[in-house]
Symmetry: C2
Amino acid sequence: MSFEFELIKKDNSTKARIGKIKTAHGEINTPVFMPVGTKAAVKTITSEELEEIGTEIILNNAYHLFLRPGTEIIKESGGLHKFTNWKRPILTDSGGYQVFSLGETLKVTDDGVWFKSIIDGSSHFLAPEDVIRIEEDLGADIIMVFDECVSYSASYEEAGKAVERTTNWALRCKNSHKSDNQSLFGIIQGGFFEDLRVKSANEIVNLDFSGYGIGGLSVGEPKEVMYQMLKCTIPLIPENKPRYLMGLGDPVGIVEEVAEGVDMFDSALPTRIARNGTVFAGKGRLNIRNSEHADNFVPLDSSCKCYTCSNYTRAYLRHLYMSSEILGLRLLTIHNLYFIIKLIEKLRLSILEGRLESFVAEFKLKYIT
Amino acid sequence: MSFEFELIKKDNSTKARIGKIKTAHGEINTPVFMPVGTKAAVKTITSEELEEIGTEIILNNAYHLFLRPGTEIIKESGGLHKFTNWKRPILTDSGGYQVFSLGETLKVTDDGVWFKSIIDGSSHFLAPEDVIRIEEDLGADIIMVFDECVSYSASYEEAGKAVERTTNWALRCKNSHKSDNQSLFGIIQGGFFEDLRVKSANEIVNLDFSGYGIGGLSVGEPKEVMYQMLKCTIPLIPENKPRYLMGLGDPVGIVEEVAEGVDMFDSALPTRIARNGTVFAGKGRLNIRNSEHADNFVPLDSSCKCYTCSNYTRAYLRHLYMSSEILGLRLLTIHNLYFIIKLIEKLRLSILEGRLESFVAEFKLKYIT
C-alpha cells in the first residue's frame, strides 16, 4: 500500500495538527485544501496553473465522470492523471452526494441506487461495488466509499436509516476494493443528530479505513449546527488517520475547523463564487461587478501575490466581467484558489510555529464573511 | 514620429515581401497576423499566453471600448497597454465596420454617424474627429481612420457615396490626428466595384498615411470576388507602406494574399471557430465535437508544438467541450492562434529563403478548407 499518513506536529493550545500524506503521485501536506474539478477540470484553469498556485491535490467526481465521458474512456486513456495531465495526487468523491442531490433518485434499496442521469435522463443502477470499480478505473490516489446522504430537513428516522446503509455500503466497498495504489476513505454520516453522528463515526472507524470523510455537512444548515456535529465526530476518529471535512470552502470555516483538528477540505465555493464575480480579499468578500471598481486601478488585494493581482487591476477585471469575457472568470478563479491555498499554508506554518491560536483570533477579527 | 516601415526583402516569383514595422512598443515583423481582442481581451486567453504563442501585435476595437468601459477609464488607467497588461504593439480599429454592421445605424451624414449602442440602446454621435480623439485616448500604436463600410449587396451608387465620404472623413481624421506616438492608417473602400476600389485607393493614398487598410472585404462575398478587388487595389499602394487586409483569417486566404503582397492581417475567425469546437489541423479543419474523437488519445495535431497539443489529447478536449468546461475553449483558442501565427512565421521564412511559391503550392495541396 503506497498510502501513508504521518502526523508531524500537534498544536498545544488547539486540536490542530500538521501532517503528511504519501501517495503514489507524491506527498500532500495537511491541513490541505483540494480544489474541485468535478468533471475532470477545475473550472476555467489548467493543471499548470493549479500547480503554480501551490495546489497539492485536486478532487474529481466519480459520479459525473461515470456519466460523461464514461469510465471506460478515462480508463483507456491511462486514468485520470493522464487524461487531465495533472501529475499530483487526486481524490475522487464517490458521488453519493451527487446521486442524492442532483437529478432524480428513482429508488434506494439496501442493494444500491437507481437514478436518472442529469445529462440525458437515462436510468442507471449503482451498487457500492460498482462505485468502487468505477473509482478504481478512474485511478485516483484516494477514493471515497459510496454513502447515503440525507438533506438538512431529514427526520431522525431517515437519518438513522442512512447511517445503517452507509455502514453496510462502507463494508461492501472495503471488501470489493482491490487496487493497491489507491487508499480508501470511509465516510461518516448521521444527519444533524449528535447520537447518529457518534454511531456512524464508531461504526465506520471500526471498519478501519485509511482516512475518514465527514459527509452530509455544509448543506445549508446554520454554521453552529455544523460545528456541533463536527465537535462530537472528530474526537472519535483515530489520531493517526486523516480527517476530511467534505464540502467546506469558506475561509473562516476552514480556519476554525483546522483548529478543531480537520486535515482535509474541499469545496467548489472559491471557484463558483469567482464565476459570479465574488473574490476573497484581505478584509472579506468583494464583488467585482460593483461600480466602485470601474475606475479603481489597484489589484483585487494589494498584498496578494497571485498572477491576477500581480498583473491586472480591478478596473480591468470589472470590464472583463461586465463584458462577459471568459478571461475575467479565469483571473478571478486563480485569485480565489490562491487565497485559500495560501491561507492553508499560513495555517500550517502557524501550527508549526506554535502560534495558531493567535492566527485564528486575528483572522476572525480581520476577515468579515 | 516613432513609426517606421522597413522593407526587408521582395520575393522574386510572387508579390510577397517581408518587412519590419517599428513602433513605440517594439517591432513587428511582416507579414503579420493580429489576434483580435475586440473588447480589450483576446477571448479566453491572457497577454502572457499571447506572447508565448508568438503574437507580435493585437487589435482592439475603439467602437466597443468607447461604449464599454468608456474611453475615459482606459485613458485614466494609462491607456490600453496598461489597462490590458499587453506590452507589445496594439492597433485599434476605428469601429467604422462595427457602427455599420452591429446594432442600429440611425443616421449617416457627411458630418458623421448617429447610432444606437449595442449594449444599452443609447444614442451616440461620432464624427471622424471624435473617433481620432477616442483612439488617441486609448493609446494604441497604430490607429485607423473612421470609414464608411457598405454591405456586399450595396449598389454602385451606395458604394460610390461611401467612397466619397471615406475620403472626406480620412482627410478630417488626418487633420485632427495630433499624437506623435501613434501612426494613422487610411482605409480603402469601394464595395465590390473595381473602378470604385481604384478611385478610393488613389484618393486615400493621395492623402499620404503611414499605412493602408483595405476594408469592406471578407464580408460574405465569394473568395474570387475578394481576390479580384484586392488585385486591383494592392498595386496602387506605395511599396514603402504596409498593406493591411482587414478581416481575413482563413489560412488559405492568408497564404494566397501574402503572395499578393499583403503585410498585415486580422480576424476573429481563429478564436471564434475555436469556441465553436473547430480547430485548424495539418490537413484542414477538425471539429472536436465529432464522436470519433471521444476515445482518441492523440493531440489535435501531432506535429503541433502548441501548449494544447503538448499537454492534452483530443479525447480530453472533446470531454471538456461536451461538458461545457471553459478550459476547453481556452485550449482550442490557443491552438488555433498558434497555428495561424506559426503559419505566418513559415511564410516569412519562405520569402526570406526565396521559396514562397513552392510553399504556397504545397500548402494549398495539403490543406483542405
